[in-house]
């Protein structure tokens, strides 16, 4: 199957300072990708390079099997057939909602254009607002109009730069779900830039973790959480602790919590000192267990408690427990380990 978007060894630089480099990835039609990373990591620069707003200092970008960017040569944005949703929505304040949505529909006659605008506005449930002006809309409505406007000309790929960050938290999750449904329904290929991992998990089929000017991992949400390829990804995504251990003769890992068995990543030699990523959901609470650890701290999360437990050496580990298991700080509780995917890192 062809790919809608392909980046080969891409680098972007401003005034000679490289902000991101060595990025290679590809996106199949109809797939929603996400670039996830802390602020200032270069993810927005990458998105803007795909849109054609930033030139490349290295590498190539292909859109719909067409070479659109390489150093010193860039197809202008207006000829790329990309749709873009901006953080501030960038709705045109002097145009009505309908005219905003119709802005990019140039090669249609008036009737077709009206039909397309109405269809889209109905789809996002804002048909009744077609004559309103942007300043009369709520934040969520503006967001939906910005999305509708970008989708209207049926772009090859939809680029979204932190599209939910200016909205309230509750609205964000709801909209992220709605938007995903909309994109999936029309089979639209899209890339979402965000710093919020829950948003990326909720929206995207494939997630790229970006940090310190590079793309660390381009993978599914499950894999970047449970099989992070490096420490940056392990630290940035979710919570967890690094448990020191040693690869044993039988290719299992000996730790303070006992021997952990499972499929080890390649290149693990017996006797090697390593650290194992232990997520809170890898540690199960079990009153029957003989392995009992002292509760150091507890944080109520509604459905769960997040307990911080201490190993005899003082090494803390995290444990996520249903919240009706309410234990006091200082109490010893029984745990068992359930590590399905083993993520190992060399000792720092």
């Amino acid at each position: 199957m062809k790919s809608e978007l392909e980046l080969k060894d891409v680098a972007v630089a401003y005034d000679g300072t490289t902000v991101i480099e060595g990025v290679s990835l590809s996106l199949k039609p109809g797939v929603i990708g996400s670039l996830l990373g802390p602020s200032g990591c270069g993810k927005t620069s990458l998105l803007r390079a795909i849109a054609g707003f930033e030139p490349l200092s290295c590498g190539e970008i292909h859109l719909n099997e067409r070479l659109v960017s390489q150093p010193g040569n860039s197809v202008p944005t207006e000829q790329r057939r990309v749709g873009m949703v901006f953080q501030d929505f960038a709705l045109f304040p002097h145009l009505s909602v309908a005219k905003n949505v119709a802005f990019g529909l140039k090669n249609m006659d008036a009737r077709q254009r009206d039909a397309r605008v109405n269809e889209l506005l109905q789809l996002v449930g804002l048909g009744h607002l077609k004559d309103a002006h942007p300043h009369q809309l709520s934040g969520g409505q503006q967001q939906r109009i910005a999305l509708t406007r970008a989708m209207a000309p049926r772009p090859d790929i939809l680029l979204m730069d932190e599209p939910f960050s200016s909205l309230d938290t509750e609205l964000r999750e709801q909209l992220a779900r709605e938007v995903r449904e909309l994109l999936k329904r029309d089979g639209i290929t899209a890339i979402l830039v965000t710093h919020d991992q829950l948003e990326a998990f909720a929206m995207a089929d494939v997630i790229g973790v970006v940090g310190e000017g590079q793309l660390h991992q381009w993978d599914t949400g499950y894999n970047i959480y449970h099989k992070p390829q490096n420490r940056f990804v392990a630290d940035f995504i979710g919570q967890g602790v690094m448990l020191p251990g040693k690869v044993s003769e039988k290719l299992a890992i000996d730790t303070e919590l006992g021997r952990i068995k499972g499929e080890l990543p390649e290149g693990c030699k017996p006797g090697c000192e390593i650290e194992l990523l232990l997520r809170p959901d890898d540690v199960l609470h079990d009153d029957e267990s003989t392995l009992r650890l002292e509760v150091k701290e507890k944080a109520f999360r509604g459905a769960e408690y997040l307990y911080t437990l201490a190993l005899p050496s003082g090494q803390p580990i995290l444990c996520l427990v249903q919240s009706h298991h309410n234990h006091k700080v200082g109490e010893r509780i029984g745990i068992t380990l359930d590590v399905e995917d083993i993520a190992l890192f060399p000792v720092r």
Partner: protein, 543 residues
């Protein structure tokens, strides 16, 4: 290396506009001979002392009026508050020299006030003491009456933007409303008030018409006298340079205050302020204070001008008056278009190429608003005259042709001076329009397949229309009101409404001057209207 056209053209504009400033400053080093010695020994001290006293008087009075009214209309509730909120801007429409001669006409021996007084008391000439309006104190009152709106505007905005929380914290800590005002509200608004005050003082320093008419010797009148009376350009330029020194202090104060004002911005207000409802004497006092300010600053002088104009318009509105209006309009339209084109060029340079050179050039090009018209005029005449003379003698030598006066004494010189002085107004109006078009709007349009040229047509022009019109109108009105630079630079026998009104008033033909003066005041209402509309818009947005 590629030539950066934006950097080059904006630097060229800024440098050209800075010529008058350079010339004035450079003249410090030109020996002015005995004239300077004479000036320094006789009048220089008076110029300094009078200018300082005038500034002090204007500062005290305009602060009282500006801060007082601003606080009343923004923090309290009393009868007429909503009307006063915009009406208090009306005095801005009257140039100081016009209010000065209007009050002179009202208060002199034959004027309506003294006549009524004599009729009521039966006193005759010399029987009573009456304050002399044509004095330094009088000039300070005149200037303060029409300049206080600068302070009012900025102080009002500062009071309104104060976070309710900060004020509520003070209330919750046990301070009453008055104490809260003096310990929290006023200190928070201080930078804005200082910025307003520095604008008022810049206008005070720039004033020529009022002080000349009242016979108060300040720098501006001194420059005129040295220029025309002593015919000594270097000495006039040196006086102008000293005046500039005062201006530099004020500009620094203004810049500093505006920076402070940003730090003092205590955040967005979520809910509207509950105004303090005034009762009893306070209620009456608030209404009377605002009414008196409005009455003396606008209603009385405008009414008097109206009465005079009714008396004299039949003789005054004739062919000559039509020429006057035509000249003035021609000049104002040309100047405002010139300023608009320049402002557009500089603003787009900054938007498309926001490097350090361009940003500095744009800021430098807007500096003229602080420089008194007299100083700019001196700085224009000297180099333009030099250019004409040099070219002329060279042409005579080479071709035996006289090129005559090409720049000086033509409309070109006058338009250039206006551009230097008023470009900032245009720059600011265009800038605030352009700011509303965020970079992501351009990018959104491009992502939807628009080329840069059509983005200009579909997004920029429709969104900028209002701001461009504002820019044109504001410069138009400023040119209409401008007096000193026009007096010095106008072509021979070329009169404008402002010059004519001033000349008639100087000949004690006060009533005859009213038609021209009233025309200026009516035009001056345009920016007041624009301002009051943006005030009510910002109120709508806060809701």
């Amino acid at each position: 290396m590629r030539v950066n056209y934006w950097s080059a053209s904006s630097s060229a504009i800024a440098l050209t506009l800075a010529i008058p400033l350079f010339v004035v400053v450079a003249n410090i080093f030109v020996p002015a001979g005995e004239v300077w010695q004479h000036l320094a020994e006789t009048v220089l001290r008076d110029y300094v002392v009078n200018s300082l006293l005038l500034m002090l008087g204007v500062a005290l009075l305009s602060l009282t009026l500006g801060v007082g009214t601003a606080w009343l209309v923004s923090m309290t509730e009393f009868p007429g508050r909503r009307m006063f909120e915009w009406a208090l801007l009306l005095p801005m429409a009257i140039p100081a020299y016009i209010i000065a001669y209007t009050y002179t006409g009202m208060l002199d021996f034959a004027g309506p006030v003294q006549t009524t007084l004599r009729e009521l008391t039966g006193w005759g000439y010399g029987d009573y003491w009456f304050p002399e309006i044509r004095s330094l104190e009088g000039a300070a009152i005149m200037l303060a009456l029409v300049l206080y709106p600068y302070i009012y505007l900025l102080a009002r905005a500062a009071f309104l933007s104060q976070s309710l929380c900060v004020l509520e914290v003070s209330r919750s800590l046990g301070n009453g409303p008055w104490r809260t005002f003096f310990s929290v509200g006023l200190p928070l608004a201080r930078p804005a008030i200082a910025a307003g005050l520095s604008l008022v003082l810049m206008e005070t320093l720039a004033d020529y018409g009022t002080v000349q008419y009242f016979g108060v010797d300040t720098f501006t009148t001194g420059i005129f006298r040295t220029w025309y009376g002593l015919d000594n350009a270097p000495a006039a330029a040196q006086l102008a340079a000293i005046l500039l020194l005062f201006v530099v202090v004020l500009v620094t104060l203004e810049r500093y205050s505006r920076r402070q004002a940003r730090y003092h911005d205590s955040g967005r207000r979520k809910s509207p302020l509950t105004r303090l409802p005034l009762r009893g004497w306070g209620r009456l006092g608030a209404s009377l204070f605002c009414l008196a300010t409005l009455l003396f600053g606008f209603l009385l002088p405008a009414g008097q001008l109206g009465l005079w104009a009714i008396d004299t318009y039949e003789e005054m509105i004739d062919q000559r008056f039509a020429t006057l209006v035509f000249n003035t309009l021609k000049l104002a339209v040309l100047a405002s278009l010139l300023a608009l084109v320049t402002a557009l060029l500089l603003n787009y340079a900054r938007r498309l190429q926001p490097n350090r050179t361009v940003r500095f050039a744009v800021r430098a090009a807007g500096m003229g608003y602080a420089i008194p018209g007299t100083v700019i005029a001196v700085g224009v005449v000297i180099p333009f005259g030099w250019f004409d003379n040099t070219l002329d003698s060279w042409m005579r030598e080479q071709f035996d042709i006289s090129s005559g006066l090409l720049l000086s004494g033509t409309l070109a010189a006058l338009l250039f001076a206006y551009l230097v002085r008023f470009l900032a107004v245009s720059l600011h109006a265009v800038e605030s329009g352009l700011e509303r078009i965020t970079p992501s709007m351009d990018e959104a349009a491009r992502a939807m397949g628009e080329r840069p040229a059509s983005i200009l047509g579909r997004i920029h022009i429709p969104m900028l229309k209002g701001s461009l019109l504002t820019a044109l109108l504001l410069v138009f009105v400023d040119v209409l009101k401008e007096l000193p630079a026009t007096l010095i630079l106008r072509p021979f026998n070329f009169n404008t409404l402002a010059v004519r009104a001033y000349e008639l008033a100087a000949d004690e033909r006060l009533a005859d001057a009213a038609s021209a003066a009233l025309a200026i005041v009516i035009a001056g209402l345009i920016p007041v209207f624009l301002l009051s509309r943006s005030l009510s818009q910002s109120r709508e947005e806060k809701k």
